[in-house]
């Protein structure tokens, strides 16, 4: 886990830094998708998450769902194209899980990717990925704090 400007960034995830979302390829060929610590920090305490339906086919960048924090509404673009094979039902009852554990229990959807190799090439990971994220955070002057 790296810490950049107060934001936690696991080294092994694939990031779409402009959109503040992550993807995690798993052994079974599926990809887990979530929001980064940066995203939850920018949004503040999340009070509603509304996720797309199961079995929906999403293009890369299309909305995996919408969320509402105290004072803001936004969508969650998926960094990977494919079919939604699972959604995190627990978020409905406790949306702030995204604030508390954005890389673990706060995951958003699980996707059966259409072409992970192609999508992966558009994302950044490892030390160079963290560095790319660092540049983005510095350029935008973003500092993570605890969600209030």
């Amino acid at each position: 886990m790296s810490e950049v400007n107060g934001c936690n960034l696991p080294d092994d995830l694939y990031y779409w830094v402009e959109k503040h979302v992550w993807a995690k390829p798993e052994a079974d060929g599926t990809v887990l998708v979530g929001m980064t610590d940066v995203a939850q920090s920018l949004a503040g305490k999340i009070v509603v998450v509304s996720l797309r339906s199961l079995n929906k086919t999403l293009a890369r960048g299309k909305s995996a769902g919408t969320l509402e924090s105290g004072k803001w509404v936004g969508s969650i673009p998926t960094p990977v194209a494919g079919t939604v094979i699972a959604i995190n039902e627990d978020l409905k009852g406790k949306p702030s899980t995204i604030n508390e554990d954005p890389y673990g229990t706060g995951w958003i959807i699980r996707v059966q990717p259409a072409n992970w190799e192609a999508d992966m090439a558009e994302l950044v990971t490892g030390p160079s990925g963290i560095e790319a994220y660092r540049e983005k955070l510095s350029a935008d002057g973003i500092q993570c704090g605890s969600a209030s």
Binding site: K71, V73, D140
Partner: protein, 361 residues
């Protein structure tokens, strides 16, 4: 910055316009500011609200009051021509939500001050005059744009607002009117006959937006394509299928009056009759309490009930305190078939969603 002064437009357009502009906004284009008011009153629910839970749909339909859903969060609002809506669209905002409000709300706050209203920004997104809120604001990411919206509240029809909302009882509605009157204000209320005209208020607002963003303003018009998209959104946002669609998430007990002020009603059916506890909280402290119902008390001394209510005001919102106050009350009077535990249960029911008296239509 491109400025669109749309004046007065059909209600549905007044909400659709910023959705359409957000969708058609290209990356790298300049910010857009819109001011507009609706021709007719209407109701607008937040993006994630359950409209059927919040709105008295039958009443709105009978009265011909349109109901729409915006792609911005927050609660149900009653909107009419006495409000000057402002919509600001930013093509590339990257900061926090708190910082966005901090920067942008300077404009309406300074505009109010130039009118003579002592407004200030109370984070995250309230504009207040002392303890009272003046107008609402909200923000969203729509397509590639960051959209922040609000209104200059020239005047406000509190009774009309309380009527379009779905409330558990008339007692609750009375308390809502009283609470809005206590916690809301308007330009008219603050300034009386010295209130500026709509045109002057709009002009001040636009000037302050230009200053806050450090941008020159140039007047523009909606293009044919943009009007077409406004029409599309006007249909979509007010389509009953979209407004009253199934399950969406924002379900919270009580009704928010402003920031940290909420109004609740809890019901408990005790052997001796129905207990209705209506209470308002402010910063998690009882702000107002009313215990009513169809029970009988002996001796017939209402002052004891009033004392129970007053005892709770200023105390933390806590069921043990309610039970203790109820206990003391029942040592002074007898409420047939009602125990302190029953009163505590009415309080707990007010805060529990599953027993909320606001059920879906």
């Amino acid at each position: 910055m491109r400025y669109l002064n749309l004046g007065t437009v059909p209600s549905t357009y007044s909400q659709a316009v910023y959705h359409a502009l957000a969708e058609s906004m290209a990356t790298g284009s300049e910010p857009v500011l819109v001011t507009v008011s609706p021709e007719q009153p209407y109701v607008c629910v937040g993006y994630h609200q359950l409209a059927s839970r919040e709105i008295d749909r039958d009443y709105c339909e009978q009265q011909g009051i349109a109901v729409g859903r915006r792609m911005v969060g927050g609660g149900a609002v009653y909107l009419d021509h006495d409000q000057i809506f402002w919509h600001l669209l930013l093509p590339s905002y990257t900061g926090t939500v708190d910082a966005l409000y901090h920067e942008i709300l300077k404009a309406p706050v300074l505009a109010y001050r130039k009118m003579g209203v002592a407004a200030s920004h109370r984070p995250v997104n309230d504009i207040v005059v002392g303890p009272r809120k003046i107008g609402g604001t909200g923000a969203a990411q729509i397509a590639r744009s960051t959209v922040i919206v609000g209104s200059i509240l020239m005047d406000f029809d509190i009774v009309a607002m309380s009527r379009v909302l779905r409330v558990p009882s008339e007692k609750f509605r009375d308390k809502m009117v009283q609470s809005l009157d206590e916690y809301m204000t308007t330009v008219r209320r603050e300034l009386g006959n010295a209130a500026p005209s709509r045109e002057d208020a709009t002009h001040l607002l636009v000037q302050e937006f230009a200053a806050a963003l450090g941008q020159d303003i140039h007047n523009g018009f909606l293009s044919r394509e943009e009007w077409d998209l406004v029409e599309v959104y006007a249909q979509k946002l007010f389509d009953p299928d979209f407004v009253y669609q199934g399950e969406r998430g924002l379900v919270q007990p009580g009704v928010k009056i402003l920031g940290d002020v909420h109004l609740y009603e809890g019901i408990y059916k005790a052997p001796g009759g129905l207990i209705r506890l209506v209470f308002r909280t402010r910063q998690d402290v009882f702000d107002d309490v009313a215990l009513t119902g169809d029970f009988f008390i002996t001796p017939m001394d209402i002052s004891k009930i009033e004392r129970f209510q007053q005892k709770l005001v200023g105390q933390p919102v806590d069921d043990a305190l309610v039970a203790r106050a109820a206990d003391e009350l029942l040592k002074q009077i007898t409420i047939w078939g009602v125990t302190a535990e029953n009163i505590r249960q009415a309080f707990l029911n007010a805060q529990a969603l599953e027993t909320s008296t606001l059920s879906s239509r």
